[in-house]
Symmetry: none
Subunit: 384 residues, 2 copies
DNA sequence: CGACTAATAC
DNA sequence: GTATTAGTCG
């Protein structure tokens, strides 16, 4: 039985706006740790992974893991019936074929209740590998939106290049070519990417699906990070331990327990890793599960900050500025169509992070108060 | 010859926005009392009735009754050429085939003038019966808009149910079912509907057109109300006297003189009747025709208030809160498509009133400074 | 049958 | 100005 009360329906609404065009149906995997969703886009080119942490809910209860097969179009419709600041309670009986949503206006007598039909969806839960990327670019999400939108008018794809110069987005089109160069903020120093273990193992994949790099070494550094983000997700932790490569085998449920968490750290590390490697508190795990004071839009940064760990965490908070970290020059080409789609998550977080390594799927991630949304997109090879 | 000067072109613009999707052509019936419009929607399911009182104009003159056949799309275009706060003068010669519109910017030298072609329209002026309803729900028009819009996403029709619990709007759809419950504001007390004469005679009709209930007893209570609203419409009053049941016979011109006025009272009674039956001032008629100080959005309530009559008039003014009055449990099903259309009048008034009796067309009415706009919609029978 | 474009509503 | 929807075109 699931009963999850979200303080603001707006969060869910934005999430759905962000993915509904990419995916039509998906399983919301609910378990005691929260709700996750993972799905390939309709054309099977991109992958979306969403996490809503149990701790991010006003009330959360999920007796046992249950997948809720949801048609996102339907859910979008139902969510449109909620005001952004309505409290939203999701309820589902154990073997239910409907999801019950109750919206309670914060200050009124209005109560709206919806029952949405659920469906059985074959969960193609892919293992999402934990990758150490050669480049990380963190920038205002609005900037990212702008760039991909602009360039999408010119051409089909964009070449993203990270070098000492900065990050360049370039697109060639019939009528015009365009290129946007972003230099790192403050001085323009480009640091190294904080690696889990600095072990970057990029294995190229042919089908252009999910990432297949690996590097699954939950050592000190990430252990700590993971702990912070994972909060009371020790169970998950357990599972993660010892996992090494999981992406090759798709259709596993390792997503939630393993890859997901792994991914989580990356997210978390966002700020923490920013200036990288400060051993302190690294092992702090469940203890750090206190809820962040701030929420919603700025929640992601607030949260990270709250942990008060690394050096330049603040820089991530400021919506302005581009942060670039790179270990090696990276140049990849992606379909703009997808990036434009990804960029719709900008409403969830004012910062976006791009993680790249040559020949490896790009990871675009947005972190918000209750969790994150990540997109993976395989690069174009040659001149497809 | 018609010459009517409206203080704000915006009023007309909003009116047209409200009905142009429902009706494409209609006669603006002009007479000394003002301008009325009545039309069935294009699919002949709903009826719109608009009144612009002569007294609501800054200047009004209409020597003799004349119908102005207007293509609403054209008029909309012409009105778009006016700023909302322009003074707008409508002029038409007696047998003219054009309507002349002059826009004068309030504080400038700008004068725009347009001549719009008129057309001959068969006036299907239906008699609109005067009905005593079993339930009256008054709520913020924005709330109504929201609900019907929300539910229209789920299904085709909505069941509106008024009970001691409150008013419930429920819709069943393929993907989801939805239900919105509104409880009455302040305390949640649900009073009785103030009847003209407390004589509720609901005759069922088969064709599902206009209302066919009757109860046309202009006695003390309503006489007073009518007087207030009707203002110097004594002539009309005359006509009304003796009218009893008029809905059965459609295609009469009784609309303006009779039913319309009758309906008007209902509107007016809104606030007045609120707490219901207070004999004081009831007979006050033409004397109360002073213009309200406030205008536009809150005009309706302002106006009513201006009359300063009944007890809880104020409650109607507050945009917040739902007021429910019922004599009997009511449960009706309507096409959401139409209700959504009706709800576009929200820009004219921040309160809307729903009048219902089982098996009788719903009356949705918006009252604004210069008059009102009412919609009638027959309920769905069975599960059409 | 799908995609694209145009119109319209938000 | 954006997003949706309806209609048209391929």
């Amino acid at each position: 039985m699931l009963e999850a009360k979200l303080a603001e329906a707006g969060t869910l609404k934005k999430l759905l706006d962000a993915i509904k065009e990419l995916v039509t149906d998906a399983n919301f995997e609910c378990n005691e740790e929260g709700i996750t969703l993972q799905a390939m886009d309709n054309s099977h080119v991109a992958l979306v992974a969403v996490l809503l942490e149990a701790t991010g809910f006003k009330r959360y209860r999920c007796d046992r893991p249950m997948p809720l097969g949801v048609n996102l179009t339907s859910l979008t419709k139902v969510l449109k019936c909620a005001k952004d600041d309505d409290e939203c309670t999701l309820k589902a009986a154990d073997e239910a074929d409907v999801l019950n949503l109750v919206y309670e206006a914060k200050n009124s007598d209005r109560i709206a209740e919806y029952d949405m039909k659920l469906m059985d969806i074959d969960s193609d839960t892919l293992g999402i590998p934990d990758t150490d990327y050669d480049a990380r670019v963190t920038m205002p999400s609005s900037e990212f939106t702008r760039i991909v939108r602009d360039l999408s008018q010119l051409g089909e794809s964009v070449r993203i290049e990270v070098s000492k110069e900065g990050v360049r987005f370039a697109s060639d089109g019939e009528a015009a070519n365009g290129s946007v160069l972003l230099r790192p903020a403050e001085g323009g120093s480009i640091g190294k990417v904080t690696q889990r273990k600095s072990k970057v193992k990029t294995e190229k994949k042919e089908d252009g699906d999910v990432v297949d790099v690996d590097a699954e070494d939950d050592e000190e550094e990430e252990g700590g990070v993971r702990g912070r983000i994972k909060k009371e997700k020790k169970v998950k932790k357990e599972l993660k331990e010892g996992e090494d490569v999981d992406m090759e085998d798709e259709d596993e449920e390792e997503f939630k327990p393993k890859s997901d968490d792994e991914g989580e750290e990356e997210q978390a590390e966002d700020d923490d890793e920013e200036e990288e490697s400060d051993g302190k508190k690294r092992k702090k795990k469940a203890s750090s599960s206190k809820k962040p004071a701030k929420k919603a839009k700025t929640a992601s940064s607030s949260k990270r900050k709250g942990k008060g760990k690394s050096n330049s965490d603040d820089s991530d908070d400021e919506a302005e500025g581009v942060r670039i970290q790179m270990n090696a020059h990276v140049s990849l080409t992606f379909s703009l169509k997808y990036l434009v789609n990804f960029s719709k998550s900008a409403s969830l977080c004012n910062r976006v992070q791009l993680m790249m390594s040559n020949d490896v799927p790009l990871l675009v991630s947005y972190v918000f108060g209750q969790g994150y949304i990540r997109y993976y997109l395989a690069p174009k090879i040659g001149d497809e």
